[in-house]
């Protein structure tokens, strides 16, 4: 199984988007549950505990994905095998897209109240 962890393996083509998908489901599901269990007062703006948790998870996920982008780029430069370089570069692109997607989707937590 250790070969799957190498950043030149094509499993990383889906790694970034899997992380993005888990984060996406978590923030949507978490938001729904939080709004059912402990909704903040409707008078409050975006600065609520829910938004802070969502924002932190967004930043954390984006940082992880950006690090993986960098690591894939490095792996692509290290390998001499064309196939491995191809997958490392493609994976880097997809990790980068996933990081951008995380920030873009998560950005509204800065200005929208969570449960209205």
């Amino acid at each position: 199984m250790s070969h799957l962890l190498r950043l030149t393996h094509p499993i990383h083509l889906v790694g970034g988007l899997t992380l993005w998908g888990i984060w996406f489901v978590a923030i949507y599901g978490g938001l729904s549950v939080a709004c059912t269990v402990a909704p903040p007062s409707p008078d409050r703006d975006a600065l609520t505990g829910i938004n802070v948790v969502l924002g932190v998870s967004t930043l954390g996920t984006a940082i992880l994905l950006l690090w993986l982008t960098w690591a894939c780029m490095k792996a692509s430069r290290r390998t001499q095998v064309r196939r491995e370089r191809f997958f490392a570069l493609a994976s880097a692109g997809i990790y980068l897209f996933s990081a951008g997607a995380t920030l873009f989707v998560g950005y509204p937590v800065m200005f929208l109240p969570p449960c209205i």
Partner: protein, 843 residues
């Protein structure tokens, strides 16, 4: 190029051709029903899909006739409801998906250098499920019982209270039946692409079309099960009154919307991706240069496949979801524009840097580019929540949807039709008729649907069967109807062109478009075995880099050029590198797929007419047929009793521990897991969101029985895994006995689960909690029974000598099922017993 009669071939090569023709022969007459070959079945899929397209198109013409004039009484409102529901249903489920799957079934082995798909009997089974499901569903039109709740069957409109006839049942049962077909094709396409590419075709060298189909097939595997679950729940609700979607019983109608769109949005991309695959195949051929940015396209495909699963709520913006949640989905919906844009720019760059030649297929590609880009732009508009609210359920949405689907799927499909027609028939279509057909369809389409954007912006809601002239929509609707009939005229010309070309078309040369793809390296029309010999390939453009391939393949100069063994064979290769791993021996013609599908059709009809004992009996017979089918595998006399292979060749796949069967089981579990996760989603959704959900203070399930069942399952796995480890070392002593013991443990698990259900005294018709619990318990019970049954059969097969140290594959496949059961069982135990017990009985 003519076959074995080719005078330049040596006598030895001619004997090889004759042997291949004998072993791969398709029977005629009644025996044609036993054919399992991908070429024949792919064509059957496409021909059947074309018939359903005509039915769906006829329904569209009825809709446009009704809407052409205000206050029109051409149809009653009830008939109109049935017509628009069936138009959407037929086009989405009986035309778009199956015809694209048919194309993939036909093309993929030819493009990747294989002789057939990896599970030929599954191809045949899938076709018959599609055919019978489609017939059952469309028969409702002639019985005046057609569904009338719209193609997405929203509850409560589709429930027993508001749709009391059989229409919704036809939809739910018919579509579920058809989806068996989609899933079976999805699974085998994934495994075939990953494991049967010809020698040397590494993953990053395979044709882009194969990447697109791989993504589509995986999306089918993951995306269809939520709808299958939703359909099962809704049919249970209609047949027995289980309140999954009834707020009074603790259910929630929005759960249906979630389950439907969890399927429905990816469905759009499932339809688009093969279309884009056709575009990515044709553009380099007509630009006369390799595609620009192959890696970019692969990345875009992967991104599109994933992101499309994160958009489903954008169909539900008006359901009262909090702004922040809608903002997430709005942003995710806009993101899809990025991979789409990458592909568009790659195609444009390829044309820009190439030396494009204009031809009939290219005309359709240009039509695609125009229409699809416009549809994509209105898609970004609809991703904006405030705009979406304004135009929701209006003709604007209908126009957008048709721009995306007709532009993204029909135009590329017709480009592909004209491109590959010579490959199928050996003749060229008429350029003149083809151009007339294109312009009629292109102009007719835009006249119909461009105008419909305005009709929608003026406030005309979809699904209204008539309108008052004071609304000011008259002229727009009339123009749309005229355009619709123009388009129908174009389709009629297209049919005429295709029909005439079989008789009058000019004979096609070996490679009429000077294409690069391997599918042009075979005789035309293709033989059932595709290639006489399987070449080693390390290029993305085989016929450009090695134009002699058609000849050398025909002369048997490459791999697997033997037939004395009498087996149907293709290469089994490494999914990443394309290095050879096995010789896959494929099953030959069989009645079992037809019999199994026929019996399932009987199940479907019995459920429709509510003859439940007959449905139960037919289910048992169907299971019997499927198991009998599985009996003819491995070392069975009808499969590969003799494991001898030519010197230097890898072993037969059934004599290894990692044959394609293991992959097929694993990919099937992706589908199964998706269904299970949808069920878990339903459980937690109702628990947290449904206003009247009642969680009892204490779980009604007896934990000692549940734990006992889990222990039996766990012990069974431990023993089965040990048996497989011993097999891996070449030891099969006591294998049969061990498998029987595992079967007994599976049976014990089943008995304990039945006891749990019996003692729980659930009231599934009164509470959504009990109904969901019952479905979850039945789900793991079915798996427990299946695990026990398969181990029992494996034990018997050891006794017959079909499984053992020499043929060790099958226990490995069954072990995958048991691992799946283990994960599902204990996670479900946590979800339905531990969590409610720990968190307590709150709603």
């Amino acid at each position: 190029m003519s076959e074995s009669k080719d005078a330049s071939l040596t006598p030895e090569t001619r004997r090889l051709h004759e042997g291949l023709a004998r072993v791969w022969a398709n029977p005629r007459g009644l025996g044609a029903l036993t054919v399992v070959n991908h070429t024949t079945l792919g064509l059957r899929f496409m021909a059947t899909g074309a018939v359903f397209f005509l039915i769906g198109g006829l329904l569209a013409m009825l809709i446009r006739t009704q809407l052409a004039f205000p206050d029109n009484n051409f149809m009653s409102n009830e008939t109109y409801n049935q017509v628009f529901t069936m138009h959407g249903t037929v086009m989405m489920f009986l035309f778009a998906i199956p015809i694209l799957e048919g194309l993939a079934i036909y093309m993929i082995p030819k493009m990747i250098g294989a002789r057939d798909l990896v599970c030929p009997r599954l191809t045949a089974f899938g076709y018959f499920c599609y055919l019978f499901g489609g017939i059952i569903l469309t028969s409702s039109l002639f019985l005046d019982m057609a569904p009338n709740s719209g193609w997405f069957m929203y509850t409560p409109l589709s429930s027993g209270d508001y749709s009391p006839g059989s229409g919704s049942d036809f939809w739910l049962l018919g579509i579920t039946f058809v989806e068996i077909s989609a899933l079976s094709a999805g699974v085998e396409l994934v495994v075939s692409i990953l494991r049967t590419r010809t020698e040397g075709m590494a993953l990053h060298k395979m044709p882009l079309f194969a990447w697109y189909i791989l993504a589509m097939a995986l999306m089918i595997v993951v995306g269809f099960p939520p709808l299958i679950l939703g359909s099962i729940l809704l049919e249970l609700a209609r047949a027995t009154g289980m309140p999954f979607f009834d707020p009074a019983g603790g259910g929630d109608p929005v759960l249906w919307a979630h389950l439907f769109w969890l399927f429905g949005h990816p469905e759009v991309y499932i339809i688009f991706l093969p279309g884009a695959g056709i575009v990515a195949t044709l553009i380099p051929v007509f630009a006369r240069r390799p595609i620009v940015g192959y890696g970019w396209v692969v990345a875009a495909i992967v991104i599109m496949g994933f992101v499309s699963f994160g958009l489903w709520v954008h169909h539900m913006f008006t359901l009262g979801i909090p702004q922040l949640a809608t903002a997430f989905f709005s942003a995710a919906s806009m993101l899809v524009a990025i991979p789409t844009g990458i592909q568009i720019f790659v195609w444009l760059s390829t044309l820009w840097l190439g030396r494009p030649v204009m031809s009939l297929p290219m005309l359709w590609i240009l039509g695609f580019l125009v229409i699809f880009v416009l549809g994509g732009l209105t898609g970004v508009m609809l991703a904006l929540v405030p705009f979406n609210w304004q135009v929701h359920d209006t003709h604007f949405v209908v126009a957008h949807m048709h721009y995306v689907l007709v532009g993204g799927m029909l135009f590329p499909l017709l480009a592909g039709l004209y491109y590959w027609l010579p490959q199928v028939s050996g003749r060229m279509p008429s350029e003149r008729l083809g151009k007339w057909s294109f312009w009629l369809i292109f102009l007719g389409f835009n006249i119909t649907f461009l105008i419909m954007h305005w009709t929608g912006l003026l406030g005309m809601r979809r699904r209204v069967f008539t309108y008052d002239t004071a609304m000011g929509w008259d002229i727009y609707n009339l123009i749309s109807s005229v355009g619709g009939f123009m388009m129908a005229g174009g389709v009629a010309l297209l049919i005429l062109d295709v029909a005439l070309h079989f008789r009058f078309g000019k004979p096609a040369s070996q490679n009429p478009w000077n294409a690069d793809g391997l599918e042009w390296a075979m005789p035309k029309p293709p033989t059932p075995y595709n290639f006489v010999s399987l070449p080693r390939l390390e290029t993305r453009n085989p016929l450009w880099d090695a134009p002699e391939l058609p000849r050398t393949i025909l002369e048997g100069q490459h791999g697997l050029a033997t037939i004395d063994h009498g087996r149907r064979e293709t290469w089994g290769s490494d999914p990443l590198t394309g290095k050879l791993r096995e010789v896959i021996h494929l099953p030959t013609n069989s009645w079992w797929p037809l019999l199994a599908a026929l019996t399932l059709a009987l199940v479907c009809i019995s459920l429709l007419v509510r003859l439940y004992p007959l449905a139960a009996a037919a289910t048992l017979v169907a299971v019997g047929f499927l198991l009998r089918w599985s009996w003819e595998n491995g070392a069975h006399p009808k499969a590969a009793p003799d494991a001898t292979v030519a010197p230097g060749q890898p072993p037969l796949h059934s004599r290894t521990m990692n044959g394609p069967g293991v992959w097929t089981m694993s990919v099937s579990h992706l589908a199964n897991g998706s269904l299970y996760l949808s069920l878990l989603f339903g459980w937690f959704y109702l628990w947290t969101v449904a206003p009247e959900w009642q969680m009892p203070a204490a779980s009604p399930l007896a934990w000692p029985l549940l734990v006992g069942a889990g222990v039996a399952l766990t012990l069974g796995i431990l023993l089965l895994a040990k048996l497989v480890r011993r097999l891996r070392r070449g030891h099969d002593a006591s294998l049969g006995t061990g498998l029987f013991v595992v079967a007994i443990l599976g049976a014990l698990q089943s008995v304990l689960l039945i006891g749990t259900i019996w003692l729980a005294k659930l009231a599934p018709t009164e509470s959504a909690h009990d109904a969901t619990l019952l479905v979850a318990l039945l789900y793991i019970l079915i798996h427990a029974l299946l695990g026990a049954l398969l181990c029992l059969l494996q034990g018997l097969r050891v006794g017959y000598g079909f499984v053992g140290a020499e043929a060790p594959l099958e226990p490995v496949v069954v072990l995958r099922l048991w691992y799946y059961n283990l994960v599902v069982y204990w996670s479900l135990f946590v979800a339905i017993w531990v969590m409610p017990t720990v968190l307590g009985g709150t709603s």
